[in-house]
């Protein structure tokens, strides 16, 4: 068995007297789609924000490819190959779809000073076009992102996280507010992106928070159930479905 891509060990975070995450440990393997489910307030977002450098955990460690990344800033994490999406739409409204994608990876091209006065597309035009086709947003590629429909913006929002070809992408409710017909489309896209990898040689890993159970069960290789800041179970979708404790606590029979 290969070494884990991400290892979270004994993560703790409290807000005053409230223990949001208390001693969470798990591993994500290269190429794995790892789901995180649990009721509201179970600590999923706090866990996400700790891994993504938005907040500093009180205790515990986070390792990426065997290197300690605990407490690094979102910027440093991005440079180390961690991509993410947010629970709500986060696109650059006044830039075109294509420019949204280019800016999503340009900071990985050379140094900041080498980019001053450099060509505007940073040599990323072809990569942006490939994602535009894959996400079927070709017809709106030159429109400003703020003028797109919610569904189109959601697709762009997800595509942006993949522009810099990260090893690990954290997706925070990729189906939130998306109509049922698009949910299947997003699932297919994520499965394709998982298999394709950045350069074809490696598989990309995802961590997905999502409340849509059909989506999670269909997409994820393994699922972690969180309840009140702790891990209740980790297992394959079949194992989670058959876990009586999980059924009682969350899935509700």
């Amino acid at each position: 068995m290969s070494a884990p891509l991400l290892r979270v060990d004994g993560l703790k975070k409290s807000y005053g007297a409230i223990l949001a995450v208390s001693g969470v440990s798990f591993e994500v393997m290269p190429g794995e789609i790892f789901g995180v489910i649990g009721p509201n307030g179970s600590g999923k977002t706090t866990l996400f924000n700790s891994v993504l450098g938005q907040i500093t955990p009180d205790a515990g460690s986070i390792e990426l490819n065997g290197k300690n990344i605990t407490g690094l800033s979102p910027l440093q994490l991005n440079q180390r190959g961690v991509g993410r999406t947010f629970q709500t739409l986060q696109v650059f409204g006044k830039m075109t779809v294509r420019d949204n994608l280019i800016v999503a990876a340009q900071e990985h091209q050379g140094s900041m000073w080498s980019r001053m006065f450099a060509p505007g597309d940073s040599g990323l035009g072809a990569r942006a076009d490939a994602l535009i086709d894959q996400f079927r947003i070709r017809h709106v590629a030159d429109k400003k992102a703020g003028e797109l429909s919610y569904g189109q913006q959601k697709l762009l929002d997800i595509a942006m996280a993949f522009m810099s070809e990260p090893d690990l992408v954290l997706l925070d409710e990729p189906c939130a507010g998306v109509n049922p017909s698009l949910v299947g489309g997003i699932s297919t896209l994520l499965k394709d992106l998982n298999k394709s990898g950045g350069n074809g040689a490696k598989h990309r890993s995802f961590i997905v928070i999502e409340h849509n159970m059909d989506f999670v069960m269909d997409l994820c290789h393994r699922i972690m159930v969180m309840v009140e800041g702790t891990v209740m179970a980790i297992g394959t979708p079949a194992e989670i479905r058959g876990n009586k404790q999980v059924l009682d606590a969350y899935l509700g029979g």
């Binding site: 993504l52 800033s73 979102p74 910027l75 991005n78 440079q79 991509g83 993410r84 947010f86 986060q90 696109v91 650059f92 409204g93 006044k94 830039m95 420019d99 280019i102 800016v103 999503a104 990876a105 340009q106 900071e107 990985h108 091209q109 900041m112 980019r115 001053m116 006065f117 450099a118 060509p119 505007g120 940073s122 003028e147 942006m160 522009m163 810099s164």
Partner: protein, 328 residues
């Protein structure tokens, strides 16, 4: 750049090159004055318009540039020393003013920068040994260029035009480079930008520093244009006026400062017939503009385009609906 824009640009350039010799002396002076403000407003257009940092302190840099050149020339040194010193000085002070923006944003940042502007203005007014206080510094000379004196208004005009074009070209290159995209990303959504690897701290500081250089160089040209400087043109009110010019022209539109400065500098001249009513007319126009065109005058073409596109989309939808009904 698209063809009609290129054509308008060429016509404007020819007019700016060939027109002034036909103007009276005061007209030439006024156009130079306008160009100085065009150059100055490129600064806040970058800081505020492209990078979204709500700074109200740009007249301070305009003033620092003007006083730097005036003081250095009074001390017996050349304008050509004063100009780079003003530029470098403004870059450094602009960088320092950027630090508050790493902590506070929007209206709070506006107040912080307003405080900075007030402090700089107080130095200009109170430190008589350096700035001449309220009496200011008079007889600021115009520079020469390898024996060619730029004394006449016309010659100085061409000098100002040259500097404005040069710095305009540099800014054009910058906002079209990846830096321009990074500034816009910082403005539209700093949290997402950071998660995509955009060093938002560095770009925030640079947007302040580069914006300050534009205002500072314009200030240096201003000192030599009006040849007498005092604290009055660098007050907080003037800073708000500068911000207004950027907003009226179209923040984040490259040519916004051209129009905005025309509204701020040339329009008052044309509205002289209104005399006492001038401020009322001007104020009302600004209110109307903010209500209907919050993105400035240069957003008009974009609005027309957006309206046409949505009309076409509705027409396509209606046609599709008809064919679906017919098929059913």
């Amino acid at each position: 750049m698209k063809k009609p824009q290129l054509l308008i640009g060429l016509v404007a350039l020819v007019a700016l090159l060939a027109g002034p010799p036909f103007l009276k002396n005061y007209g030439i002076y006024l156009i130079s004055y306008w160009l100085v403000f065009v150059l100055a407003n490129m600064g806040p257009n970058l800081t505020v318009g492209y990078a979204g940092q709500k700074s109200l302190g740009h007249t301070a840099f305009f003033g620092i540039g003007a006083y730097t050149v005036a003081i250095i020339m009074k001390a017996g040194f050349s304008f050509w020393l004063g100009l780079p010193v003003a530029a470098v000085g403004c870059f450094v002070i602009g960088l320092a003013l950027g630090f508050p923006a790493l902590r506070v944003q929007t209206i709070y940042l506006a107040f912080a920068t307003l405080g900075f502007n007030t402090a700089v203005w107080l130095v200009m007014r109170n430190e008589e040994w350096l700035t001449g206080g309220t009496f200011g510094i008079n007889n600021v000379a115009r520079p020469g260029w390898f024996g060619l004196k730029l004394d006449s208004n016309l010659r100085y005009y061409y000098f100002v035009l040259g500097v404005t074009l040069l710095m305009g070209l540099l800014l054009w290159g910058l906002v079209r480079s990846p830096w321009g995209k990074a500034f816009t990303a910082l403005r539209d959504n700093p949290i997402r930008a950071e998660s995509l690897g955009v060093n938002i701290q560095a770009y925030t500081l640079l947007s302040f520093a580069i914006g300050a250089v534009y205002a500072g160089v314009a200030g240096a040209l201003f000192a030599s244009l009006v040849q007498f400087i005092e604290p009055a043109p660098f007050t907080v009110a003037a800073s708000i006026m500068m911000y207004l010019m950027v907003v009226v022209g179209g923040p984040g539109y490259f040519f916004g400062p051209l129009l905005g400065s025309a509204v701020g500098v040339l329009l008052p001249e044309w509205l002289r017939f209104a005399q006492a009513w001038y401020l009322f007319v001007f104020g009302s126009a600004v209110v109307v503009l903010m209500l209907w065109l919050p993105d400035g005058l240069l957003s008009i073409p974009d609005r027309i385009k957006a309206r046409r596109l949505s009309r076409e989309a509705s027409a396509a939808r209606a046609a599709a609906a008809k064919s679906i009904r017919a098929a059913a």
